[in-house]
Symmetry: C3
Subunit: 193 residues, 3 copies
Amino acid sequence: MQTFSVYELNEFDRDSPAFLEFSSQTVNRVNPLTGAHVHALGDQVPFTNKLYDGSLKLRLGITAGICLLMKNYPGMGTPEMKRQQFFTPDRYETLMTWYFGDFGHISGQGPFINYQDTLMTITGGVGFFREARGVVRLHNISPFKFFYTFTLTGIPQLPKHLTAEVVPPSEDAAAVPEAVACDPRFTLRNFSN
Amino acid sequence: MQTFSVYELNEFDRDSPAFLEFSSQTVNRVNPLTGAHVHALGDQVPFTNKLYDGSLKLRLGITAGICLLMKNYPGMGTPEMKRQQFFTPDRYETLMTWYFGDFGHISGQGPFINYQDTLMTITGGVGFFREARGVVRLHNISPFKFFYTFTLTGIPQLPKHLTAEVVPPSEDAAAVPEAVACDPRFTLRNFSN
Amino acid sequence: MQTFSVYELNEFDRDSPAFLEFSSQTVNRVNPLTGAHVHALGDQVPFTNKLYDGSLKLRLGITAGICLLMKNYPGMGTPEMKRQQFFTPDRYETLMTWYFGDFGHISGQGPFINYQDTLMTITGGVGFFREARGVVRLHNISPFKFFYTFTLTGIPQLPKHLTAEVVPPSEDAAAVPEAVACDPRFTLRNFSN
């Protein structure tokens, strides 16, 4: 069993996410005080963001997937979360893939609850991750920053690229400028983009 | 190989399902006699319902997922099915997760054909079901009641909570009132909700 | 490890695909020169097409799934691709199942990039493919013809139905008329339809 962590960061340059307001509930589609759409079953959030290693010094690739809104839980979440712009306490069902350039990719399925950590199952992988099994812990930092910790079996020994010292997750987490700029010394080979 | 059964019941208190009428076929979008939307490729049905054990005496948690309508098969289904309100003979492609509170969860993918039993594959699991592999048989009782039988490998011995005597599926199937009321003696610990 | 190839052909008789133009990007939703919708994150393409063996002499069943558009990559693709009607260079995230009648089915998840080959992971299977693990190479012939090569472990020895000599993929690829007509000598038993 091997463990490593990665960051998914939305740098607002991929037109992601697309918030599709398909909810069909019959009441409260709109907040009467603010006019805002109320999240509910039926809403969908396709997304594709940047993927960095846990040290935030290596651009790995991208994420790609969809969050299907299952239920809104009014009032849930910490005071810190409630201060964040765009935060609403929601439970999603998620299908996604993490792309690591020439290294391959990992696919997963399961819950995303934005006011608590969740575990998704690993459904399989390709390349280095070809026989991957296990789970991934999803830690929501903000609506635009996510921290994942994979615990996998069935893969060869992790390369040092994926086991550098991890920067603890915080709202300030950001990749180093060279990685953001895709400097070749700060990217995986043929990093997914 | 171990087997157990669960019930998914729609108790109409979760605003589920959301029937999203996205079908884009060029003809027959509407039944000329009734004005009703005709199901077709493109329609989507996100859902989240209650999950009970096979004895209908234990609230386990919830289901969460989406059915993607692939094709409508006019005329298919038994006379009993055709008597049910809202029944139309459809084939869906489904992605879903069954949530069992502190026990963990199981994810699956595959066909849902509402006029015959189908087998979906188990794509993985978390917690007790962490190494789960196998299949689940989906038996459609009505548009609001479903009976699943899992046949799994890779998990520890099933606890007695999941192996109580099963109530045979019928249109009258309903959880005992204490389980519906979430009486702690009739729920899994931290049952998903 | 065993390998076999299949063809997915759109014969335009299943109302497939449904191209759902949900993209929510704020600019360039429409090409100013042609008025055409510009593909972007949020667009979805549910589909269900015919499945034939690699020799194009045996109707196996159908495919069923959805492609979620992640990003459009203007300019990508070979001159041959750019000549094809409806071709636009897109990256999708895909969830799908290949149905083989009484033989069972295989489910997968991962990337579809229509201007290069991709590898998707196998998330599981049912029937003959019950313990299937591995990957599938997706080769895009045209927007309506696809060639898949599975490399699987965990399954019994492949039957001769799936290992007939493969017709190399080309834009002219078409099933033999008897298979298109579902002549019983040219179909799998209870082929999915």
